[in-house]
């Protein structure tokens, strides 16, 4: 009784690869925002030596996140582990800042960027389909090697 058009069927992609794809797009978005944060702190580094170091660390982490996103898309298990660790750390830090009375989370933008996006990446990589995508990739890698 299928009445799906051929065009729709042709545009469909296997759902098992969707989780890494979506997660990689979110990580690239986070990396881009971090890169700008790091670059924008450089002028402050002229008079504030601490921000020289922090901006450099931020830029390095942003570049690392681009690299992780690329390998996430290629369904590398080590990239999944690193991204889970980084996002969990980021989420815990953001949750702690939410509790502190310093106004770190006011409005939809900080909530989306600092809470929803890391939580979404974690959910995507931890979900059944996310785990399945990486296991499937591992099996196909092993099959290709043998």
């Amino acid at each position: 009784m299928s009445i799906t058009s051929p065009a729709v069927a042709a545009s469909a992609t296997p759902s098992t690869t969707s989780s890494p794809e979506i997660a990689s797009v979110l990580v690239v978005t986070q990396a881009s925002l971090s890169l700008v944060a790091g670059l924008s702190a450089i002028p402050f580094g002229i008079v504030e030596p601490g921000f020289r170091v922090l901006s450099l660390i931020t830029i390095v982490i942003a570049i690392g996140m681009f690299w992780l996103a690329r390998n996430l898309r290629r369904q590398r298990r080590w990239a999944r582990r690193w991204v889970i660790a980084l996002e969990a750390l980021s989420l815990v830090a953001s949750l702690l800042l939410t509790v502190l009375p310093i106004g770190a989370m006011r409005g939809p933008v900080p909530v989306l960027v600092n809470l929803v996006m890391p939580a979404a990446v974690l959910w995507l990589l931890w979900s059944r389909s996310g785990r399945a995508a990486f296991k499937k990739a591992e099996r196909s890698d092993a099959g290709g090697a043998s």
Partner: protein
């Protein structure tokens, strides 16, 4: 620095309502499809046939479309017309993503055009960036990234590879910088120095307010005169703040005075300037307990409180930078919003006056050289 414009607030409710509606619609269609209702089966099959990437891109475009449509009443003229076109366009493309194969290229053009138009509007000063607008751009950026990922792999030439790798990060970076430039180029009347928001007050001070302001300065001067020597301040419970290479002024805070409200006998902090002969007392700082809790302003527009927001604070060296419009700070620093504060300068503060958020630069240089 970026709040939620009151006229944009309905967008949040609309976005939540849309997500609930979509969830209910999918559940209802599933029930109808189980009952073999032909059109419901067609819709469910169309939905199930699409990848999760497509589904998410479609939902994000629908979200952006609904937000644009809800915000039409608060936008007049050509901007309002563009919001109608934009909102309807996103809804058509969001629906088309489930049932057609042609949606991807128009969606890419629509998303890029919308983001670029927002940057142009903000830089030109025709739109004030607020959290709803910025959140909407974030939604569109993620939708753009997802739509780009759905591209069929073309010829694997190096220019193509490089372009595919940098196009999306470049767009995200340009969007951030564009909003930032626009916001800084067109600050509203309540922005003092960068990162300081002023208390809304009347334009002109009454004679009574002028007298009250003068009394506050004299009372403060008389009260803190005993702390000319920093050692006396420390003995009284004031703790010296960290030395910052970016700020030649040093604040000595007294947590025991935290509950006092604009009390000259119990200021929350004393302000000293670093001179060649050591620290010189130049004023006091009154501070409220919570962010957004403006203090009493006996002098009306003369005693205008300010609070710092949109700044990244690093505990390493007590340093500050600006946070990006997407609320991100360099690693190791965090976004903070301070409770409102009011400085009372007991030295002549030039054109800025005794209650200014900042010490006059000329005065500051004179003090540093003295």
């Amino acid at each position: 620095m970026y709040d939620i414009a009151a006229e944009h607030a309905p967008a949040i409710a609309a976005a939540i309502a849309l997500l609930i509606f979509l969830w209910l619609a999918v559940r209802a269609l599933s029930v109808l499809a189980h009952r073999r209702i032909r059109w419901a089966v067609a819709l469910v099959e169309g939905y199930l046939a699409t990848s999760a990437v497509t589904r998410l891109a479609a939902v994000l475009m629908l979200l952006s479309g609904v937000i644009h449509l809800v915000l039409i009443p608060s936008h007049e003229g050509i901007t309002g017309v563009l919001f109608v076109i934009n909102g309807l366009g996103f809804i058509v493309l969001g629906v088309a993503a489930f049932f057609t194969s042609w949606w991807r290229r128009p969606a890419l053009v629509w998303l890029v055009a919308t983001i670029v138009a927002y940057i142009v509007w903000v830089i030109a000063g025709w739109e004030t960036p607020d959290q709803i607008g910025i959140a909407c751009k974030l939604i569109e950026l993620v939708a753009l990234g997802l739509t780009l990922r759905l591209a069929q792999p073309g010829r694997r030439t190096w220019p193509r590879r490089i372009w595919r790798a940098v196009a999306f990060p470049l767009m995200a970076s340009v969007t951030t910088l564009g909003i930032w430039v626009g916001g800084l180029a067109h600050p509203d009347a309540l922005h003092a120095h960068a990162g300081a928001i002023l208390q809304p007050v009347a334009a002109v001070a009454t004679p009574e307010q002028r007298q009250a302001a003068a009394r506050l300065v004299s009372d403060t001067r008389a009260s803190i005169a005993r702390y000319q020597d920093p050692a006396a301040a420390i003995a009284a419970g004031f703790k010296p703040g960290p030395v910052s290479s970016a700020d030649p002024l040093r604040h000595f805070e007294n947590s025991a005075n935290a509950n006092a409200v604009l009390d000259p006998t119990h200021p929350q902090a004393l302000v000293y300037a670093q001179t060649k002969h050591g620290l010189q007392l130049i004023g006091a700082m009154y501070q409220m307990k919570r962010a957004g809790q403006w203090g009493p302003d006996p002098g009306g527009p003369l005693t205008q409180w300010h609070q710092h927001e949109g700044i990244c604070f690093s505990p390493f060296g007590f340093e500050f930078s600006f946070e990006t419009p997407f609320w991100t700070c360099p690693v190791g620093s965090t976004s903070i919003t301070t409770p409102p504060m009011l400085h009372v300068w007991i030295v002549d503060n030039g054109k800025l006056g005794p209650f200014a958020a900042d010490l006059d630069k000329t005065v500051q240089k004179q003090l540093q050289g003295s």
